[in-house]
């Protein structure tokens, strides 16, 4: 097992801070959890502890962006995106070069339960014009996204990170292509039915495991990783849908407005496409529990994904 993406984020931020003096970090009393403490220890003069007051943190970040800084604003995904009106006007509408970092994504956080689980955050952020929405599948991809956000991306961006550790999946030496789907598991040359899976974040590891379970049953399921939920790679989505008997999406997020919606919106551009099954949180709130139990319950564990594919 590799690192959590929040840990990879904290390490990448502290490293990028060395070369980029314009990076500043704002925190709302969760520095130990979001891992911004790694930056804080190294660059205390560029770290602003804003207390338990996220809306003011976000607005302040907008002002810092207008002063020429690249502010990173971190909190739990649900608390951060919960201050929607401030993100909408002070950041998105104003085109502020702010990076919003939402950690503790999805039911994968487990024990803490529904009030701490960011389950609608992607839907909220995708709805905002100018906002980029990114979600890495592992530590390496987090590093790539962080570098892109500092050197390549202009304007507001939201990044969704996990509390829990995730397997290392990023192919060694692979070039990072911002906004593009990446093939993680190719189709087997044989197989009775051809299933295509696009997953994001913690869902990618589960999908990869599911593809192995399915291969043993003679079912070929390719797995693609979507690190960018906005802009979304419609073009590649339509390409890989061709000839597939079933298309599934896997995400630890509401299927309303998340990855499932991204794919549905892409497929809807064509008149003929495979059936789409959106695996994720089905219009429900979260609850306390062991992460693996919750993944099983919501149908996004490897075993649950494989069962769903076999039933369809």
């Amino acid at each position: 097992m590799g690192k959590s993406t929040r840990q990879a984020f904290g390490e990448a931020l502290a490293k990028l801070g060395e070369e980029h003096s314009e990076i500043v970090v704002l925190e709302a009393d969760l520095a130990k959890s979001t891992k911004t403490e790694l930056f804080m220890k190294k660059f205390p003069e560029r770290f602003f502890e804003m207390g338990i007051a996220e809306a003011n943190m976000i607005g302040t970040a907008a002002g810092l962006a207008f002063a020429g800084k690249i502010p990173f604003c971190a909190s739990f995904a649900c608390f951060l995106t919960g201050r929607y009106d401030t993100i909408r006007l002070s950041v998105a509408y104003a085109g502020a070069n702010v990076r919003l970092i939402g950690t503790h994504a999805g039911v994968g956080i487990g024990d803490d339960g529904h009030s701490q689980m960011g389950i609608e955050d992607v839907a909220l952020m995708r709805a905002l014009p100018t906002m980029g929405v990114f979600q890495p599948m592992d530590a390496k991809e987090t590093e790539h996204i962080m570098e892109y956000l500092v050197k390549g991306w202009k304007g507001p961006a939201y990044v969704r990170l996990t509390r829990q550790d995730l397997p290392d999946l990023y192919p060694a030496g692979a070039q990072f292509k911002p906004g593009k789907l990446m093939e993680i598991v190719p189709h087997a040359s044989t197989g009775q039915k051809k299933v295509v899976c696009v997953a994001t974040g913690a869902g990618v590891g589960e999908a990869v495991q599911a593809s192995k379970l399915l291969a043993a049953q003679g079912i070929s399921m390719s797995v693609w990783n979507a690190h960018s939920l906005k802009p979304f790679d419609d073009e590649q989505t339509l390409k890989i849908a061709q000839g597939a008997s079933l298309f599934i999406t896997v995400e630890d997020h509401s299927v309303i407005g998340g990855l499932g919606s991204c794919v549905a919106e892409a497929l809807a551009k064509t008149s003929a496409h495979p059936k789409l099954m959106k695996l994720g949180i089905q219009d429900q709130f979260g609850e306390s529990g062991e992460p693996f139990e919750l993944y099983e319950k919501h149908g996004i564990s490897a075993g649950a994904i494989a069962r769903t594919v076999m039933e369809h």
Binding site: M50, N56, G59, T60, F66, A67, G68, D85, T86
Partner: protein, 279 residues
């Protein structure tokens, strides 16, 4: 420009506000008229580095947190030369950069996009923090409404501006005691404001927001105490009259967000012209 000239200029700009709103057929006269003396004092006397065409990186900045009063800011920007005067007629028209509320993307000089109340002080604070970090001499001004400070985010910013010792930040509350549903006192009382802001760690003064000498004195004091080493952010509680300068609009809540019709605008202009003539 001296106090007397500034007071006269503010009344001239009141005429622009009335004309603009009449043309647009919508907008907010009450809070624009209560704020115009303060905004005029800032842009024509107090703020540095804000000449059109040669805006300094170290310039002072103004954030209009009570975004609905933007006609007052547009009138000032036109007089200052940032906007052609005839463009004021495009207020609220499709395709115009004179949006109904400040839009930083279409018009960068407004510094922040506002209009959902309670957000501007946080943005102004971020600017102040950035300037302080870069050791730039810029001062940041932020104008809020007294109804607006019912928003919780304002008090989050009040706390943090004091924590970060932003003496380069000067906020003004346009205390006109009016909001859409009635007087501020009746809708949701915010007093005692001097005590509240002092308790939050601000240097607070209380002035008549239509007395130009007092307004200029307040801004001078804010700059002086900051230069003298004070670490507190500065708060000017400006006591104002909603609809100031137009007899039938003064203290009338109904004029919060209703534009004058041609006959009403003519009467308002007549009153203001008489006022200017006596100045």
């Amino acid at each position: 420009m001296q106090a007397q000239e500034l007071a006269k200029l503010a009344n001239e700009l009141r005429i622009d506000i009335i004309e603009m709103l009449m043309e647009a057929k919508s907008g907010h006269p009450g809070g624009s008229l209560s704020a115009i003396d303060i905004i005029t004092a800032l842009w024509f006397h107090e703020m540095r580095g804000i000449e059109p065409g040669r805006l300094a990186d170290t310039r002072d900045r103004f954030v209009l947190s009570k975004g609905h009063a933007v006609p007052a800011l547009y009138a000032v920007l036109a007089k200052k030369g940032f906007i052609p005067h005839e463009e004021l007629k495009t207020l609220r028209r499709t395709g115009s950069r004179l949006q109904g509320h400040p839009d930083r993307v279409r018009m960068p000089i407004v510094e922040a996009s506002t209009g959902s109340l309670g957000q501007g002080l946080s943005v102004a604070q971020g600017l102040a923090l950035g300037m302080k970090l870069d050791k730039k001499p810029s001062r940041i001004y932020c104008l809020l409404g007294d109804g607006e400070i019912q928003e919780g985010q304002v008090w989050e910013a009040a706390m943090s501006a004091a924590k970060f010792e932003l003496s380069n930040l000067c906020a003004i509350v346009d205390c006109n005691n009016g909001q859409i549903d009635g007087t501020v006192d009746s809708v949701m009382p915010v007093e005692p404001l001097v005590d509240k802001w002092r308790a939050f760690g601000w240097h607070v003064i209380d002035i008549n927001g239509h007395d130009m000498e007092q307004i200029l004195g307040a801004f001078r004091e804010a700059r002086m105490v900051a230069e003298g080493g004070e670490t507190k952010p500065f708060m000017i509680l400006a006591r104002t009259v909603k609809g100031k300068g137009v007899s039938f609009m003064e203290n009338q809540i109904g004029w919060h967000g209703v534009a004058p019709k041609a006959a009403e605008a003519a009467k308002a202009k007549e009153e203001l012209t008489k006022l200017i003539g006596n100045q």
